[in-house]
């Protein structure tokens, strides 16, 4: 809902009720924005990250398109981008986690036409969890169920106090729920991490494990769930904690009514990767012999869950998909962006709402810098600076409507605050797709 109000000096302010924050995977949709022209001046109920997001996305005074660093028209940029993509033999389209699902759908369509690779930032956050889902399955639920039922909340390798600041208050610890009338008092919070993070203060039980020993700790719990006898010395040596601590935790897990494990990149980015994710998912499955237990990855970017959903609808796989043979093939490690770039395989790229020039390994960055690529971002980044074609686009959720998926796969609509003079990535991608199709027809005719 949009209303208007006036300041003491008769300036008209717009109030956008229940706007959606797309910074992190919590996708809070209860933010009231006060908008003064092309600037958000207040974001009621937003956390520190939400405030940073809303108050710093005024319109950037940059050209909407740069070609090789020089200002160009959007039309010229679209033509150059379409030619880069159609001339490529092994192109990579990557990113997609900070844009709408409508844009994600068009991007996957382009990849289908040109027979390229599509990968999302999932591959370098919870990609290993995506692999583990396929081998173990996922006992899951919505965040609403966590809020109303979750009486034992475990965070493993996740630091929501820094990465998802409203997680505790909105979903997992503080709310009074349908079956938890006393809110926090009815819940037990356990945090397992290698660091005593800011989140540890919220825990009833904090367990500091040895670095790179998550797999061993999770399998200790799996063994206890199965009633297998363990060597106390070996458990303490491997996990850094006595067997009695793990036994106590297991008894508490068995005794709860609705247990939830939120796990983060402390598991997926560390040695073991998908084996760590498999272990936590399998432990969750084991616990359902005793009580109701679910497990959820704490997703980072605002619409990374949407990227998983859209790529899955379009190809049958969630990330790292190769369309070169005209049908989708999925193989993490072979068709994922970090590998395709570090091995020097891609000959062109389209980077949407992501910054691999900051976040990828040096060999991957060196290769990306050596090939023609197109970048879309509302802000200037190291990736847009080095792009052949860089589009400055309107910001999703602030300037652009559409749909994003919360970390529990619940779709949420966006309620933009003001219009941007820059086009949306949806608009540009749609026009690139049209031009790519024309060029492919011409190419076919020439043959």
């Amino acid at each position: 809902m949009v209303t208007h109000t006036e300041t003491s000096d008769n300036q008209e302010l717009k109030i956008v009720k229940d706007a959606t924050c797309t910074f992190c995977g919590c996708v809070c949709d209860d933010i009231d924005l006060t908008v003064d022209g092309n600037r958000i001046v207040d974001a009621k109920r937003a956390c520190v990250l939400g405030n940073g997001w809303f108050l710093n996305h005024q319109v950037d005074d940059r050209p909407s398109c740069l070609i090789e660093g020089q200002a160009a028209s959007v039309d010229e940029g679209i033509e150059r981008a379409a030619r880069i993509l159609t001339n490529a033999k092994y192109s990579l389209t990557y990113g997609l986690s900070d844009t709408t699902s409508e844009s994600q759908r068009v991007a996957v369509g382009i990849v289908d036409w040109i027979g390229g690779i599509v990968d999302t930032t999932t591959s370098v956050c919870h990609g290993p969890s995506g692999m583990a889902f396929q081998s173990v399955g996922e006992a899951t639920c919505s965040l609403g169920e966590v809020r109303n039922r979750g009486d034992m909340i475990i965070f493993w390798g996740s630091n929501p106090a820094e990465s998802h600041p409203r997680h505790f208050t909105k979903y997992s610890l503080m709310p009074k729920g349908m079956f938890l009338p006393n809110g926090r008092k009815d819940r037990t919070c356990v945090i397992v991490d290698v660091r005593r993070t800011k989140s540890a203060k919220a825990a009833d039980i904090f367990i500091q494990i040895k670095p790179r020993k998550d797999f061993e700790a999770l399998w200790t719990l799996r063994a206890l769930a199965k009633g297998i006898e363990l060597d106390p010395d070996e458990v303490e040596r491997e996990t850094g904690n006595p067997l009695s601590l793990w036994q106590d935790l297991m008894e508490r897990m068995k005794a709860c009514k609705f247990g939830v494990i939120f796990f983060g990149m402390g598991l997926t980015m560390t040695r073991g990767k998908h084996a760590n994710s498999e272990a936590v998912l399998a432990l969750t499955r084991d616990m359902n012999r005793y009580t109701r237990f679910v497990c959820k990855p704490n997703r980072g970017h605002g619409n990374v869950t949407g990227a998983d959903n859209v790529v899955s609808w379009r190809t049958g796989y969630p990330f790292g998909v190769n369309m070169a043979r005209g049908y989708p093939r999925f193989n993490p490690g072979e068709y994922t962006a970090a590998d395709v770039l570090a091995r020097g395989e891609a000959d062109a790229a389209m980077i949407i709402a992501s910054d691999p020039m900051s976040n990828f390994s040096q060999p991957a960055r060196d290769h990306l810098a050596s090939i023609p690529y197109i970048a879309f971002d509302p802000k200037e980044t190291p990736t847009t600076r080095a792009a052949t074609v860089a589009f400055t686009v309107a910001t999703y959720g602030i300037n652009v409507p559409g749909t994003v998926y919360r970390m529990d796969d619940v779709p949420i609509p966006l309620r933009p605050a003001f219009e941007s003079p820059h086009p949306s990535d949806y608009e540009i991608l749609t026009r690139i797709e049209q031009r790519v199709k024309q060029l492919l027809v011409l190419c076919q005719a020439a043959k």
Partner: protein, 127 residues
């Protein structure tokens, strides 16, 4: 003299705010260009806040300011740095067939540098 540590790159809320402000702005650059270390390790190595150290992994090398970890977050032997350009330089390109480079729990060799030694490419990034 060098010593082996385990480095944990990760998210901080200041780094998150810095992304929204802009990756060439002070908040992001300051947050991603400082290394957190336990107070005990700093004392043992004779380091004060804002002294410089060099970290070397099998893949890359960075030079970075050191600050004490807040709230005793880090045990001895563990280092933390916010995700960014510097942390990525220490990652290997290989993902071991997973698509995910090993981005946390990196073995690094730490050596103390006499005096500030910002590399030319770090200065370039800040400009």
């Amino acid at each position: 003299m060098t010593e082996t540590f385990i480095l944990i790159p990760g998210r901080t809320s200041r780094q998150g705010v810095g992304i929204s402000e802009g990756k060439f702005e002070d908040t992001y650059l300051n947050e991603t260009q400082r290394l957190q270390m336990s107070a005990d390790d700093m004392q043992r190595l004779g380091l004060a806040e804002d002294n410089w150290v060099r970290l070397t992994s099998p893949t890359g090398q960075i030079e970075v300011r050191v600050v004490p970890a807040l709230r005793n977050e880090l045990p001895a032997g563990l280092l933390f740095i916010a995700y960014g350009d510097l942390s990525s330089r220490l990652m290997a390109g290989d993902t071991h067939g997973s698509g995910m480079p090993t981005s946390k729990g990196l073995d690094v060799e730490l050596s103390v540098i006499d005096g500030p030694a910002p590399e030319a490419d770090q200065v370039e990034l800040a400009e």
